[in-house]
């Protein structure tokens, strides 16, 4: 399993909010078309780490990256100053903690990324929207009300709408930031199924505070603590035979 190609290589990644250092020299490899989970206690820097991949931190003043995240096969450094954050976000999609559909119709929500990229052809947009909604397992539920407001959907449906929105532009990588923390167990199960299915076509990086979820959906897991990467391994190994005491304490609930 460890033999899959490398999609991204993180080396010496550090991150600063002003004078506060939030990430300390992280090194890891993200495998192509696999699900990699980031776990760790609140404040350990897992969301901060995730947001480096699509440069969301560039929206906050006085932030700074160190080291590199190289994306393959092109071998570009995602956090390099010379690389435009908008270029990065066009290739790497993101799904947030709280479902955040725009106050627009279901159709326009999914079409948003295409329109932002200047897509004009109605046929192309309709085709991509339908495909994205099918891939997000939402098509059957919304196909009769594509022009109804996105905000009228249930929480779980809204989150799948946000996944469809991200899929519509064929991203190479999808970032999930605790995507089920605002959802009920049934909606959570559907999102997890979806993430598992997505592995076929896109590299997934998911932050979760729920260890069972990490164990259920991911192929690899990284355990972070206080802004550092404590352990990174195949999920099956990390959860059954952790190499570090801190990891074992956390996954067995003895943390803190």
């Amino acid at each position: 399993m460890l033999t899959s190609a490398v999609k991204a290589r993180v080396s010496g990644l550090g991150f600063w909010y002003g004078n506060v250092r939030a990430l300390h020299g992280l090194d890891m490899e993200i495998r192509d078309r696999k699900v990699t989970a980031l776990i760790g206690p609140s404040g350990c820097g897992k969301s901060t780490f995730l947001r480096c991949f699509n440069r969301m931190h560039d929206l906050t003043p006085h932030t700074r990256y160190e080291g590199s995240i190289r994306l393959y096969p092109d071998d570009i450094d995602l956090v390099a100053k010379a690389v435009d954050p908008i270029e990065v976000r066009m290739r790497i999609g993101m799904v947030f903690q709280k479902p955040n559909p725009f106050p627009k119709s279901i159709f326009e929500n999914v079409a948003y990324g295409l329109r932002v990229r200047g897509a004009r052809s109605r046929a192309l947009i309709e085709e991509q929207v339908e495909k994205a909604l099918r891939d997000a397992a939402l098509w059957d539920e919304v196909k009769d009300r594509l022009h109804g407001p996105g905000l009228s959907l249930s929480g779980g449906q809204q989150q799948r709408l946000c996944i469809a929105r991200a899929l519509a532009t064929d991203p190479e990588m999808l970032l999930f930031d605790e995507p089920t923390s605002a959802l009920d167990p049934i909606a959570t199960a559907r999102i997890e199924e979806l993430i598992t299915a997505l592995r076929e076509r896109v590299t997934v990086l998911i932050v979760t505070h729920n260890m069972q979820q990490a164990a259920r959906v991911s192929d690899f897991t990284a355990f972070m603590y206080l802004g550092e990467l404590v352990e990174f391994d195949a999920t099956s190994k990390l959860f059954t035979n952790p190499g570090r005491k801190a990891t074992e304490d956390y996954i067995t609930g003895r943390y803190g």
Binding site: I86, M90, R91, R117, G118, Q128, T169, D170
Partner: protein, 302 residues
């Protein structure tokens, strides 16, 4: 295939264009303020001297001054502040600390919001009908002060409510837990802690009142007044006199309006000089309020 057609360079060019456009509009707006003030000072320079402050209005532009106007404005502001601040603060305390959630409260709230949007000249008509004729106050300092007090009441109420609301609930709960009554909680804690906000609202309200022209023209302020109101202090017991409340008056904005609307360009100079002083006063008051608000934000970190 889609990612490649994103046109990032072109899209970012629009971003930069918009930033330039935004800055241009901002600079234009602020340039107006600067141009206005410098023009007033330059045009009025010839009259901006101590004599201008100590002379009455006159038919000869070069001798005319604003003595009656600034004395009138000061006395009107005194009346306005004495009425608007206690009533406004009390109304805000009622709405924020006491009022139950019922139809009466809703009606008061709607009225405060609505009054803030009523044009100032309507207040002038109200004052003309109510204060000048119904109450028989005539065209007096008292009538003008009350009119402007009603005009700025919504400003004082809204600012005070905001200040009261900024005091955290935990402070109130702490006082109640020690056995304080509702009035004690308000008078000992909530109101003192929000004094800065109340003061800011008062200054902003008065700076609005000081420049208001339409409502006091409407009640019929004379613009040619060559005498001062009765002095408030007398030589004999009880040493204080309120006769000035009933005296006719003129005020800074009225005097300026009077000079602006004369065809003789020499009066334009007087208008500019009066305008420079009036604008200087309002800007100073607003600056003071802004500074106060800024300081409060730094001192109170709930």
């Amino acid at each position: 295939m889609l990612a490649a057609s994103g046109g990032v360079v072109r899209r970012k060019r629009f971003d930069r264009l918009f930033v330039v456009l935004g800055m241009l509009v901002l600079i234009a707006a602020l340039a107006v303020l600067l141009a206005l003030f410098t023009d007033l000072v330059r045009q009025g320079a010839a009259r901006l001297n101590p004599d201008f402050l100590t002379s009455f209005a006159s038919r000869r532009p070069a001798q005319a001054g604003i003595l009656a106007a600034w004395v009138g404005t000061s006395l009107i502001m005194l009346v306005t502040a004495c009425v608007a601040v206690p009533v406004g603060v009390a109304a805000a305390i009622h709405l924020e600390e006491y009022a139950p959630k019922n139809w009466l409260t809703a009606i008061i709230e709607i009225n405060v919001t609505n009054l803030a949007g009523v044009p100032s000249i309507i207040y002038g008509l109200l004052a003309l009908g109510l204060f000048v004729y119904e109450f028989g106050l005539g065209q007096s300092i008292l009538a003008a002060g009350l009119t402007l007090a009603l005009l700025i009441l919504p400003i004082v109420i809204v600012a005070t409510r905001e200040a009261l609301r900024a005091v955290p609930r935990t402070i109130r709960e702490a006082a109640y837990a020690l056995g304080a009554t509702r009035w004690e909680v308000t008078a000992h804690h909530v109101l003192p802690y929000s004094m800065g906000g109340v003061l800011t609202g008062m200054i902003i309200g008065l700076s609005r009142a000081i420049g208001e022209t339409a409502p006091i023209i409407t009640i019929g302020a004379l613009s040619f007044i060559a005498f001062l109101p009765t002095p408030p202090f007398t030589g004999e017991f009880p040493f204080l006199s309120f006769a000035w409340l009933g005296d006719p008056f003129t005020a800074m904005p009225i005097q300026m309006f009077n000079w602006v609307s004369r065809p003789d360009p020499a009066f334009r100079v007087n208008a500019a000089a009066a305008g420079a002083i009036l604008l200087g006063m309002t800007l100073l008051m607003n600056g003071l309020a802004i500074w106060l608000r800024h300081r409060l934000r730094k001192t109170f970190q709930w």
